[in-house]
Amino acid sequence: MFYRENGQFKTTYKSDQQIFAVKQDRIAIIAIIAFAFIGVPMLADEYLFRAILVPFLILALAAIGVNILVGYCGQISLGSGAFMAVGAYMAYNVFMRVEDMPLIVALLSGGFFAMLAGIIFGIPSLRVKGLYLAVATLAAQFFFDWLFVRVRWFTLDSPAGTAEVSNLSVFGWQIATPMDKYLFVLGFVVVFALLAKNLVRGPIGREWMAIRDMDVAASVIGIRPMYAKLTAFAVSSFIIGVAGALWAFVHLGSWEPLSFDINRSFQLLFIVIIGGLGSIMGCFFGAAFIVITPIVLNQLLPWIGSLFGVEISTAMVGHAEFMIFGALIVWFLIKEPHGLAKYWSMARHKLRLWPFPH
């Protein structure tokens, strides 16, 4: 009843092709973004900002990058952690080595170097496919793990071999409190999400999806596989690099190479698959699931235990978290292999017909 396209006539190509063609969609998105910028800061406390919202946003951003590569272009990559690391360390070097470097430029340059790394390690995708490519991208993961520990230049030759940044500010706005960090990251995420959404709706996005569906057929109709695959790697690594730089600068503040190890790569792949391959909205759902589930389980399990008068030890809670998390993943994949985004689109579909059943 409310979610109807009735009466919305498009009179120009531009209005027909716009990103949120249905007026209700536009209103909803603007409302969500407004709530995120204005409502959440009023309601959330410091713990929510620092431990839940900021990691959620940064992981969602990284997941958008991974989704472009895995979901839209069909190239399975397990090296995302490495590209986050490249983004983080190169942003660190640009920020510290160059006098008065603006923060945003440093973060974007981290993304730029990650893009270069992505293109180089994406070259195998021209020959190698599927699971072979997935394991080949692990070469990137382990290589960069090693590089950032071995080559002291990346950590400014510090004896400890770690990197630390402080005193972040943009145009005079000090990014010190958790709310500042949240708003800063939110800005990045909104911009990149909109950019990504537009990219995948455009010709390059369609090229990626053609490659994903059947790359031989795509090359037959004139899509150059090299161009499409390498641009997918480039754009994806750029976004992942920026996310990595944000993770290091804003969330951690001081980091070592193990913060971006293979577990991070797996985590990003989880987010993308649980959220939904080939869906930008899905990245947010997946990231929310991955960030919140361990914390909820951590709080819920002792509480359930206390209901039954059983004291559950910390180790047991840790093990149970693992078991439940694993079981949930399998259950989700069985119930809905297309991820949470499918539920979302089903809900929208039902909303179009509401209150009629069909």
Binding site: Y47, G161, V165, G253
Partner: protein
């Protein structure tokens, strides 16, 4: 079916909402001193990290059994991190304001330590990094909130080299020799290299640095290289399965174990127990305490905690090296609060900021240590100040005899002249890079 699904999702949503928005309940009862414990009870770090958490919790219970900190009871809440940095950060954020505010954090994991360091000044909570973390945090004028009490890796490296020099008949006899350093390829492992390189410059021995990529289950190539290069001694800065694998590979390639020396995270029972007699002769430098089954504090813990059924962890573990490290960590945490209470009010709750003052002004005499039950375990005095966040520099070496440890050296003191110069230089460089001004209070 739909109703069931709806009900289930409603329950999950409510649970998620309540747990996400939970804040700490106001305590109307007697004040409590909250000591959060970031544990590593699952995953790869569990065998070495679980005993620490057990010792920490047990000593805190003992303090309560003795009457608390001048009447203020201690409260420990654990949060499992498995040494993953982002889980550590989440645990920190969740626990820092609970139960009246966290008194001090002791993260153990290098990654978590580094991630928490920038937050301490903002949240006004000190951190004790007893025997780990950055060695230059010994300079409290630049790192006011971090306390590497009892020792750090530069002290460890120096003492190990002193022991090797003693065994060779003096520093001069090290000239021309080769010392291999097998280390965990990470900031934790690398931390020991600067002091070893410095001493190599001073005394003319060659350093053969052999990094081992974590987790270190594959070390054959490293030990083949050692077999080829035939260094005179091997120093190990390893952790967990890497230590045991290294010793097994040493056995497999025939390198004599009595020429191998670990640091205090590479020389405990979980690493050596399963190798047994083959590891005989392997030594490690200990941050004052080693295995302490016969000590008074262990006796008290067994009597007042375990015998009353309140023991954390298995009884057989009480007195092991890593268990004692947890006990000592808890003792230092509590002593800082005692000291802070002397200034800010006996029998009252102490804030993080006040506790920081306590840790910076410690004066734990041998008499006090004996009174607490640490006679023969720790050697006082432990005296901290703004410029010296370590408090002491006395270490000793223990050697594995096939089933347990024997002390194989006297008390050795690290050369603080050499080390302090390195600490100041490194801390100043850090301060320059991060725009930190040196504290200028009297005593700094």
């Amino acid at each position: 079916m739909r109703l069931r699904q709806l009900a289930l999702s409603a329950v999950v949503a409510v649970a998620a909402l309540t747990s996400a928005l939970t804040t700490s309940l106001a305590m109307a009862q007697a004040p409590v001193q909250f000591f959060p414990s970031l544990t590593g009870r699952t995953g790869a770090v569990a065998p070495n990290a679980a005993p620490f958490a057990n010792g920490y919790a047990d000593y805190m219970k003992l303090v309560n059994a003795r009457g608390g900190i001048n009447g203020v009871q201690t409260l420990v809440e654990e949060c499992e991190t498995a040494y993953a940095t982002d889980r550590g950060v989440e645990c920190y954020e969740r626990l820092k304001a609970r139960h009246g505010g966290a008194t001090v954090f002791q993260p153990l994991s290098t990654g978590i330590t580094f991630a928490l360091m920038p937050r301490l000044a903002v949240d006004k909570i000190p951190m004790i990094t007893s025997g780990y973390g950055r060695s230059d945090t010994a300079d409290g004028a630049i790192f006011p909130w971090v306390f590497p009490l009892l020792g750090h890796y530069w002290i460890a490296g120096d003492v190990v080299l002193q022991h090797i020099a003693n065994r060779s008949g003096g520093w001069a006899n090290l000239r021309g020799k080769t010392i291999a350093v097998v280390y965990h390829d990470s900031p934790f492992g690398r931390e020991v290299l600067p002091i070893i390189n410095r001493r190599a410059e001073m005394h003319g021995f060659t350093v053969l640095a052999l990094p081992v990529p974590p987790p270190g289950v594959e070390q054959r190539a490293i030990w083949l290289q050692i077999r080829q290069q035939r260094p005179d001694f091997v120093i190990m800065q390893t952790w967990g399965v890497m230590t045991a694998t290294a010793i097994r590979q040493a056995v497999a390639t025939g390198f004599p174990r009595d020429r191998m020396f670990g640091t205090w995270w590479s020389g405990a029972e979980p690493d050596l127990r399963d190798i047994g007699a083959d590891a005989r002769g392997y030594s490690a430098v200990m941050m004052q305490h080693g295995q302490a089954r016969d000590s008074e504090v262990v006796r008290q813990i067994l009597a007042q905690v375990h015998d009353r059924g309140q023991g954390t962890g298995p009884r057989a573990e009480v007195g092991d090296v890593l268990y004692m490290r947890g006990v000592v960590g808890a003792m230092l945490a509590v002593e800082g609060v005692f000291r802070a209470q002397e200034r800010f009010g006996r029998g009252r709750h102490v804030t993080g900021e006040q506790a920081r003052w306590g840790y910076e002004n410690l004066n734990i005499t041998q008499a006090r240590l004996d009174q607490l039950g640490f006679a023969g375990v720790l050697r006082g005095p432990i005296v901290t100040s703004c410029r010296n966040h370590v408090g002491t520099a006395m270490m000793r070496i223990h050697t594995w005899n096939g089933s347990g440890f024997d002390w194989s050296s006297d008390w050795l003191q690290a050369d603080m002249n050499v080390i302090n110069r390195m600490v100041t230089a490194s801390a100043e460089s850090f301060a320059r890079d991060n725009n930190i001004t040196r504290r200028t209070e009297p005593g700094c």
